[in-house]
Structures are given as C-alpha cells and as structure tokens.
C-alpha cells in the first residue's frame, strides 16, 4: 500500500476505532517515511537514526489520543517527529543536526554570488557605457524596462535594444574566450 495522506489517515482512524491490524499496518508504513525524514535532517549512524525512528513510533502509539480525526495526519506525524528530533538534539546525543551544514551552504552560495558579481562587473566594463548601464539596471538591479528607461532618461525601445546588443556582445565574448 502507498503511504499517502489519505491512506495513512484512514489507517490511523481505523486504529483509533480499535482495529489493531490497521494500527500495525500504519506503523509499518511510517518506518520508511520517518527514516527518510530523519536522514535528511540529521547525520549519524543508521543505528542512531533507527533509535529515533523507534522512539517516534512509540510516541505515535502512546500519544495517539492527541490525533484529531478532522485534521491532516501527516502534519500530526511530522509535528511529533520534529519534536522527537529537537528533544534528541537537546539531550546532546550522538546524532548531529544538519542545520550547521545548511549555514555552510548559505555561506558558499553567498561566496559564489559575490564572485559572479565581480566577473560580471569585469565583463560589463568592456561594453559601451549605455549598454552596460542598461544591463545592470534591468538584469542585475531588477528594474523593469520602463523603470530603467525613466532612470536613464531614454526611451523604452532604446533600453531594450541596448540590453539586447549588450548581451549579444557579452555572449560573443564569453564564447570567444572558451574557444
């Protein structure tokens, strides 16, 4: 059976009505879901992830009265999973949150964005001043054509032509460098 919201919710409600087989089926379907959930968010050995999965299954079982039949099942499940994970980190056990890694990724992104910006400035410096200014306004600063036209004191079609010619020249230069 597939682990989608409707199927899981149906099994949960059957379990709440006292159907032990449905409850067992539900818990079995949750295992791969929870493994995926924790692997994406925590780094550690498979055994540690499995501990967390088991803890969550026990919580889903012992605290099943808190599921409101009128609400989404997955939201309830992942609220429990998230709580269990935060609690796990707070107790300072073996798993490490991938949060730190996320910060690192953001820093790398910033770095590459700033070097790209520097490259861009170098390329634009070789273009005629008006073309460079219009590309900067419309492509880097995010102005619309109309806004760029107003800011530069020129017509809209002039902006479009400048950007088009400028980009064409840039493409030609980059391709020329590659060759």
């Amino acid at each position: 059976m597939q682990a989608n919201e409707d199927a899981l919710r149906g099994l949960m409600i059957d379990g709440l009505d006292g159907d032990a087989a449905a409850h067992a089926a539900l818990l079995r379907l949750l295992v791969p879901l929870l493994r995926g959930f924790y692997r994406r968010r925590a780094s550690g050995s498979d055994d540690d992830i499995e501990d967390l999965v088991q803890e969550t299954l026990i919580a889903v079982h012992t605290r099943r009265v808190t599921y409101d039949r009128d609400r989404a099942f997955t939201a309830w499940l992942f609220a429990i999973a998230r709580y269990k994970m935060v609690d796990h980190f707070r107790r300072g056990r073996r798993l490490c949150p991938i949060d730190g890694l996320e910060d690192m990724l953001i820093a790398e992104d910033f770095e590459s964005a700033s070097t790209a910006r520097l490259d861009m400035e170098g390329l634009l410096a070789d273009l005629p001043a008006k073309q460079a200014r219009m590309i900067r306004a419309t492509r880097l600063d995010g102005l619309s054509v109309a806004e760029a036209a107003q800011a530069g004191g020129i017509g809209e079609s002039d902006v479009k032509v400048s950007v088009h010619r400028g980009l064409k020249a840039l493409v030609a230069r980059i391709q020329g460098e590659r060759r």
Binding site: D19, L27, V31, V53, L57, R63, V65, T66, Y83
Partner: protein, 213 residues
C-alpha cells in the same frame, strides 16, 4: 530491539479511542487533583460555617463565576497545547473576559464605598495567606494534569506548563471558595489572581522539565 518486533509489540495493545479523548483525559486529571485539594480544605482549613447561607448571596457566586470561568478558559488553551500540531492558539483572549468583568464589579464596589474603607476592603482579613493557599491547593491539581499529559503530546512545553498551571490555579481557587469568607471583588481580583498567577508561573517554570516525553 528490531523495529518490526517493536511494531508487533505495540500493536498488541490498541484500545479504541473516543473522539474527545484529550478533553476527557484532562478533565479526569483535574478532577482527581481537585478531590485531593477538596479533601485538604475539608480536613485542614475547614469549610466556612456559613456556606449554605453564602450560597444565596452575590459575593459567593461572583467568586465562583470568576474562578470557574477562568478554569474553563485555561482548560481550553491547555487542551490545544496538548496536541502536537496546534500552530496558532485560539480562544486565548477568552481568559481576559472574567478578569475584565470582575474588574468592572470591583470598580462599582469602589464607587459605592467611601474611600476611607478601601484599604480594609482590598486587604480583607486574609490577604497574606490567600495567594499561598491557592498555590498550595493548585499543586495536587497540577499533579493530576501531569498525569493527564502522560498520554498527551505537547510540543511547546513552557506554554503548556503555564496553561496547566493556570488551569490548576483557577480550579484551586474554585475549591478554596469553600473556605474563604472574603466578599469583595477587588480582594478576589488581587489576591486570588495572584495565587493563580503564581501557579501559572510555577507551571511555566516546571513545564519544560516535567512535560517532556
């Protein structure tokens, strides 16, 4: 333990769950605690001798109206915090209604009373002990709620602790009304509320430690 074994062990015990099981569990916990508090009032403080007579008066029902409605409002918030997937708390503002109403009665009282008697009316006979007694009586009820929470799943532990403490305090004040002979609204508004707030603070302080699961 192997995860499959765990699942088969867990699935051996699947009792049916009623629709409003969270509410029931909280109600049972609070009533069990209130029985202990009531017993304590009965045996150690003593029920006010004129209780039957007082029940015909306005002051008694004003006090009970205040503490009971506050208990209900606090329980509504507690029940929401007992579920893991509650994002926004609703009905939080309801807590302000009994307080505002009692403040209104208190203002009327002050207008009708000569200002020379205000201090005596405000302090009553028991202002020193009242908040502490409310706090003491709240403890068994709070313990009852801790029992309720053993099957519940709060994820904001401090908020849940505060709400449980507030409910315990307000219910304790309801029980305390059986003993307390004070009649003035500003007395209740100050000293009862102080006891209830103390209970809520204790709950907020202990929540992260005791409600963890």
């Amino acid at each position: 333990m192997n995860t499959d074994d765990l699942i088969s062990r867990l699935s051996q015990d699947v009792p049916p769950v009623r629709r409003n099981a969270v509410g029931w569990r909280i109600a049972i916990g609070i009533l069990l605690g209130a029985l202990v508090s009531g017993g304590y009032v009965l045996l150690s403080m003593g029920i006010r001798p004129d209780l039957g007579e007082a029940m015909h008066g306005f002051a008694f029902w004003m006090k009970w109206g205040y503490t009971l409605s506050l208990s209900v409002a606090a329980l509504v918030v507690t029940a929401q915090l007992a579920r893991p997937d509650t994002r926004r708390l609703r009905w939080l503002w309801v807590i302000a209604i009994p307080v505002a109403l009692l403040a209104g009665v208190g203002a009327l009282e002050l207008i009708r009373t000569p200002s020379g008697e205000w201090l005596a009316m405000w302090l009553g006979h028991s202002w020193r002990t009242c908040p502490w007694r409310v706090l003491t009586l709240a403890m068994p009820i709070f313990v009852g709620l801790l029992w309720s929470f053993r099957r519940l799943a709060p994820t904001r532990l401090r908020a849940a602790g505060a709400a449980a403490g507030l409910a315990a305090g307000a219910f304790a004040a309801t029980v305390y009304c059986l003993h307390c002979p004070e009649v003035s609204a500003i007395f209740v508004l100050t000293w009862y509320s102080l006891g209830i707030l103390l209970a809520a603070s204790v709950g907020a302080l202990l929540g992260p430690r005791l409600l963890r699961w």
